[in-house]
């Protein structure tokens, strides 16, 4: 019996070794033939349906598997992609010429109908419909021309076009095997579009195990033959542990990582095997205070007290190691709505006085939720804020979740205070208010991410007016008034604008493809020979 076991073990060992050897041989020949980029993000996209969720992760995916109509270049100007040219026909109509000879991954030809179909689907998407609300309708003039009509004159239509990634309308038409329509949008659910993808983009999805790894392969029929990109395969792995992600890069297990945790910036910068690229960012990290769940939050004095209790500078300095700009408002510097005079208001005594005035000197209990792999140091920031609120006798019950679960809870408004980071989709101040502080309206999608249930109709009106105001100065004044009011009423609890950092191995040229939106244009990525 023992003899037998031994033989069996030996056989197993031998075959395992043979397999390993064969595997090594295969990998080394393959590596010579093609460039493989192994990259690690803190999390992988939650779905393959690019209209399911309005989030950084999904938009990063969109730029890999799809192409937008236009995109921002380094100088924040519009660069033609699937739209080759555009002109304003009248105040409310824009005509766009589309690129010819573009094929989807499925082999279908890209036409104006796909653009119409995609924008109509965007207007149905619970997450996207609010930003696409200004669009009245889209018509295909001929196979490669579309006309987009807005309800009122809308100055940000091209900004919007950066979010239109035409989808393969023929591929998504009809019924899937389970009888559901192929184009349905199911949030945090299982739909045909969340499992299958056909875009025009530089990469196709070859294999995907959610939360484990996703393999992309270069689209052999990619229309943009001028793209310098020479990466044939991308393997994306989520590594949520900060230290592990950095160690994976420094040990050569992966070639590209994002984000780089602030406490490891120096280490990556000093490493000889890796390089670091940083940019000051425009993503605001803040807390919502839910007025529907907590009676006390209806009192502006309580919200102000919270604003006075939090020390943004300490968080930016200590937890973020200076890798963030402390914020007292939504709009970062350079945005139309930025108000220079709004200052940080950390003042513990004032906070305590305000709590006492509101009748809550003894504080109250609240629940708080934050993601733990979405923003840089998100869980630690939440812990720090919970500790700061303890100073005004607010007892916080904090839970931190991976983002795959967090957004489900967020949509349910499952806690009294919820952390979220927001990058203005249109690079414009109005976007903050429309999504985050506008009165919640399920039909228009306004306030889709307003987990505070703050509602001030006067501000909604002001933003609506600003959206049709073509005079830049007048528009800026309106948006600044919105920002000032939000600050005075302490509608939200802003913390900081998070800086951006990416790191890669030396032979991967990430500098030209990363940008302030944090949507790396990986299709144009060039890898040198090692």
């Amino acid at each position: 019996m023992a003899q037998h076991t031994l033989t069996l073990k030996k056989t197993l060992l031998a075959s395992a070794m043979a397999a390993t050897l064969a595997g090594t041989a295969f990998v080394s020949t393959a590596a010579q033939a093609e460039n493989t980029l192994r990259m690690a993000y803190d999390a992988d996209p939650v779905s393959l349906d690019i209209h399911e969720q309005l989030s950084g992760g999904i938009l990063q995916l969109s730029h890999m598997t799809h192409d937008p109509l236009v995109r921002w270049n380094d100088a924040l100007e519009f660069e033609p992609r699937l739209a080759s040219d555009w002109e304003q026909v009248n105040d409310t109509t824009m005509r766009m010429s589309l690129r010819e000879g573009v094929k989807f991954h499925s082999g279908n030809t890209f036409t104006a109908d796909d653009v119409v179909w995609t924008i109509e689907r965007l207007k149905r998407s619970p997450d996207f419909k609010a930003i696409f609300d200004p669009i009245e309708n889209v018509t295909a003039v001929d196979d490669h021309t579309v006309e987009i009509t807005t309800k009122k004159p809308y100055p940000l239509l091209l900004n919007l076009a950066t979010y239109v990634f035409p989808m393969d309308s023929a591929y998504y038409s009809g019924e899937a095997e389970d009888g559901d329509s192929k184009d349905e949008i199911v949030k945090n659910g299982n739909s045909f579009a969340s499992r299958n993808v056909s875009g025009t983009g530089p990469y196709t999805v070859a294999n995907r195990q959610q939360g484990v790894r996703t393999e992309f392969e270069r689209n052999p029929n990619y229309w943009d033959t001028e793209s310098p990109g020479n990466v044939d395969t991308i393997v994306l792995k989520p590594i949520s542990e900060n230290a592990t992600r950095v160690a994976a890069l420094l040990s050569g297990d992966v070639d590209f990582i994002a984000p780089v945790p602030p406490n490891d910036l120096e280490r990556v910068r000093e490493s000889e095997d890796a390089k670091l690229v940083t940019m000051s960012g425009t993503r605001i990290i803040f807390f919502h205070m839910n007025q529907d769940r907590v009676e006390a939050f209806k009192d502006p004095r309580v919200r102000q007290a919270f604003a006075y209790a939090v020390n943004q500078e300490a968080i930016a300095d200590r937890l973020m190691k200076g890798f963030a700009t402390p914020a007292a408002q939504f709009s970062p510097k350079g945005y139309a709505g930025h108000v220079e005079s709004l200052e940080l208001r950390h003042d513990l005594e004032r906070a305590q006085t305000l709590m006492a005035e509101a009748g809550y000197a003894d504080g109250f209990d609240i629940t708080m939720m934050a993601p733990n792999n979405r923003y840089v140091n998100d869980a630690k920031i939440a812990q720090a804020v919970a500790a700061m609120l303890a100073r005004i006798n607010v007892d916080v019950d904090l839970s931190t979740l991976p983002k795959a679960q967090y957004w489900g809870e967020y949509d349910d408004r499952a806690a009294d205070m919820m952390l979220i980071g927001w990058h203005a989709d249109t690079e414009d101040s109005a976007n903050f208010h429309e999504y985050l502080t506008a009165c919640v309206d399920l039909d228009t999608g306004a306030g889709q991410y307003n987990a505070g249930n703050y509602c001030n109709p006067a501000l909604d009106e002001l933003v609506a007016e600003a959206n049709v105001e073509v005079d830049r100065d007048k528009r800026a004044a309106m948006l600044q008034e919105v920002e000032q009011t939000l600050y005075d009423e302490a509608a939200i609890l802003p913390l900081h604008w998070q800086d951006l950092a990416w790191a890669s191995a030396n032979h991967v040229n990430i500098e030209p493809v990363v940008n302030v939106m944090n949507f790396p244009y990986l299709g144009d990525l060039v890898m040198d020979a090692k």
């Binding site: 230290a243 120096e266 812990q383 919970a386 500790a387 609120l389 303890a390 916080v396 839970s399």
Partner: protein, 313 residues
């Protein structure tokens, strides 16, 4: 007529003359281990009175004093002897409270293991037959899984069913339950073996002839004679349970970071180990090693003493 007291030695006299004490007095390693272990248990139990601050009270934490190094490194603050973690918690206090949680889970889990294991072992060994076969196969099945795997599966199930918040709220009893359930076969097998050796001895036959019930024979007659192996396993098991808890916490399946055990402290500091703030993870790690090592050395000594075949003379 006070003959009985001089004829029968008192408990203390018996202990004083025992081989146990004799061997202990001559074993310097055992003495040091016991001292270290008692000291650690004492500071952990007295943590609320000894520690400079209460790490569970968020109002005492100031982020401005985060990541201060321990006292022997430049830039330290005398107020924080062992430095502070990334949130500004005093490491010394956090470690004291963390050791308390670790020990509580260690002892609790072993008590549960012993309870289940001893009962099953006695039943299997004394009653034999089908009950024996059933219980021992059950133990075999469980032994074929690694402890950590069983604990991870049970922990993940509890988290999935009741949600992470409930898990955090009842983390200590749940971890005791998980680790306790995962390791009972160790006890059951040892006890069963001892019972098999004991049950055919004359005193058991005598008890049976006297008409005593099985339960009484098992617990009052046989059990006391199987205690020495139980003591020996218990020391090893406590160390194992503490390590299991630390491993689970390190994997994020154990104590939450707001209520840290030594394992979750090590996890919390892991992000910083290569970025300069090594003390956040290394000091709790060192405490864990010392704690487990002292228990293991004690167990080693106890095994030598209690095993009659290993008399060193």
């Amino acid at each position: 007529m006070n003959a009985p007291s001089s004829a029968l030695p008192s408990r203390w006299e018996r202990f004083r003359d025992s081989y146990l004490l004799y061997s202990f007095k001559r074993d310097i390693v055992a003495q040091i281990s016991l001292m270290v272990f008692i000291a650690l248990v004492a500071v952990a139990v007295l943590a609320p009175w000894l520690s400079p601050m209460n790490p569970y009270d968020l109002a005492q934490i100031d982020i401005l004093s985060s990541e201060l190094p321990p006292f022997w490194v430049d830039g330290s603050d005398a107020e924080y002897l062992l430095g502070t973690d990334a949130q500004g918690r005093d490491m010394l206090s956090t470690i004291l409270y963390g050791a308390r949680v670790s020990l509580m889970i260690g002892f609790g889990a072993v008590a549960l293991q012993a309870l289940i294991g001893v009962c099953f072992g006695l039943l299997a060994g004394y009653l034999g037959g089908r009950i024996d076969a059933f219980l021992m196969r059950l133990a075999d099945i469980q032994l074929s899984f690694s402890t950590l795997m069983v604990a991870i599966i049970v922990g993940a199930l509890v988290k999935a069913i009741f949600g992470g918040e409930t898990f955090s709220a009842y983390a200590v009893p749940l971890l005791i339950l998980i680790i306790g359930l995962a390791e009972w076969p160790q006890y059951a097998r040892t006890v069963r073996a001892s019972v098999l050796a004991e049950k055919n001895k004359e005193y058991v036959d005598a008890a049976r002839v006297m008409g005593l019930r099985s339960k009484r024979i098992m617990f009052r007659h046989i059990l006391p004679n199987t205690l020495s192996p139980i003591f020996v396993i218990s020391t090893v098991q406590i160390a194992n349970a503490i390590i299991s808890e630390a491993a689970l916490s390190f994997l994020g399946l154990g104590m939450p970071e707001t209520h840290p055990s030594l394992g979750s402290l090590i996890k919390a500091g892991f992000d910083y180990i290569q970025s300069g703030s090594w003390w956040i993870t290394l000091i709790p790690g060192a405490v864990l090693i010392v704690l487990v090592l002292s228990i293991n050395l004690l167990g080693d000594w106890l095994r030598d003493v209690m095993n009659p075949r290993l008399y060193k003379g």
